[in-house]
Amino acid sequence: MNKTKHVWQDFVNNFFSRRLLFFCVFQFYILHYYINSVKRFSIVVDYPASPWILPFVGQNVYFLFIYGISVIYFYSNIPFMQRNEMYALIREGRKKWVYAKILRIWMSAVSLSFIEVVLSILPLFPCLEWTAEWGKLYNSLAMTNAGLEYNVKLSFSYELIIEHDPFITMLIFGIILCISTGLVGMIMFAVSICVNRTTAVLMGTFLSVLSVVFANLYLYQQWISFISPFSWMNLLLLYGKVCKNAPSFSAVIIVAAISVFILSGISLKRIYIKDLDWTDEE
């Protein structure tokens, strides 16, 4: 019970930070930028907007890139060697300390994903309608060229609306969002332990840029989709609508599970030969 309480407190102490504030402000701004154009259209045509907009936002490559950068900024304090951690590490031992940090990464990923969902709904007020359907607004945008006429900055996939249930789609998107976020955190953590923090941040940035690279090269270099976690947030890719050789939802789960297992192993092995240096920054 005490261990659970300590892990929870460790997460809370580190999650509610200035980095979270910047993440929220940045994400709110970018989501507002894209979703506000949908809201304006909603006001013009007088159709309410359903809350299931995030899977459509996920199809925008610039959003994926900026989300990636925000996540990397949030995790930029890896490998969590702030000076106050020294007292905790000396009590936990290296192995348990790494376990606690891996847990912290995943708890943060779940929380960031939840925040992202909430932040995507906020710009829709007061046009929001709580419904289990996609709604007339998104149907209109998917089936007509009204989006172009009204300068709507998101594209609404007709296939997604016709073939998939909104609640299930949102759930899948939430899971993918969480997996991408946590996996990038894990990669950065392992790299920061094996090499250093700067390399880890560069690695994270590379993964973020990879979503843009894939969006431009998907016809020729389809394999990139397997190693670009932020590209997975484009559900059309997972549903096989972007290119033939793309991972499915279950493939993403398997790739992520294997990667997490390997990255945890590397982190646990390397922590024993790492000289522990502490930083003053939060």
């Binding site: 102490n13 009590r91 290296r94 522990l276 502490w278």
Partner: protein, 219 residues
């Protein structure tokens, strides 16, 4: 408590060298810290005291030589030293928590929370356990006292204290000296580093000096 003496806890440092790149920061260091004794190291800033302490605690690896804990050689890829209380470099806590909350946070890692006990530890180091003041607003001396509290609160076998008197006024220094002498009587292995030779001379049974990574026996 005296019965612990039979276990003969000690730290032996044998021929330890440490390099940062091409710079040698520890040069064939040999020393021994025994149970019920205070071992002191005097040296200027940058002499290598903190590096030696970090190696003893298992926070840094050594390039050659060996460390024996209670006669057992520590493996190269060993974990941190078990049952150790440390103050290394500046004390650092969770700034938005009170002193007692910080202690609870650390104490809970290996024990069931015991607020009453932790309050008594805070009183022992001269801090008000009821104070709601955030550690971020503590003076340097108060943070140092809290660091001492966290180092002793779990009754560790080993105390590795790097500049434990930093920021303390003369009254505080005297109080902490008495506390360390009491811990010595209770059979702790205590290792203290200071740039102030007076602290070391008054407290320590064995005294070393360190300069440019070279450790010499003074007493």
């Amino acid at each position: 408590m005296r019965s612990d003496f039979t276990k003969d806890k000690n730290i032996k440092v044998k021929d330890v060298c440490k390099y940062f790149g091409k710079t040698q920061v520890l040069d064939h260091v040999n020393m021994e810290c025994r149970q019920g004794e205070i071992t002191g190291i005097i040296g200027r800033n940058g002499a290598g005291k903190t590096v030696l302490f970090k190696i003893i605690c298992g926070l840094l690896s050594l390039d050659s030589g060996e460390i024996l804990i209670n006669g057992i050689k520590r493996e190269r890829q060993a974990d941190v030293l078990p049952s150790v209380g440390i103050i290394i470099e500046e004390p650092a806590f969770l700034k938005y928590y009170s002193g007692i909350k910080n202690l609870e946070y650390l104490y809970m890692i290996n024990h069931k929370n015991n607020r009453q006990y932790l309050e008594s530890i805070m009183e022992k180091v001269g801090l008000d356990p009821k104070s709601k003041k955030h550690v971020g607003k503590y003076s340097m001396g108060m943070r140092q006292r809290l660091a001492i509290a966290q180092s002793i609160m779990e009754e560790p076998d080993f105390l590795v204290l790097d500049e434990p008197f930093n920021g303390l006024d003369s009254h505080g220094v005297n109080e902490m000296r008495e506390l360390f002498l009491e811990l010595k009587k209770r059979g702790k292995v205590i290792l203290i580093a200071s740039h102030n030779s007076e602290d070391i001379n008054i407290l320590c049974d064995n005294v070393y000096s360190m300069e440019s990574g070279v450790l010499k026996v003074l007493r």
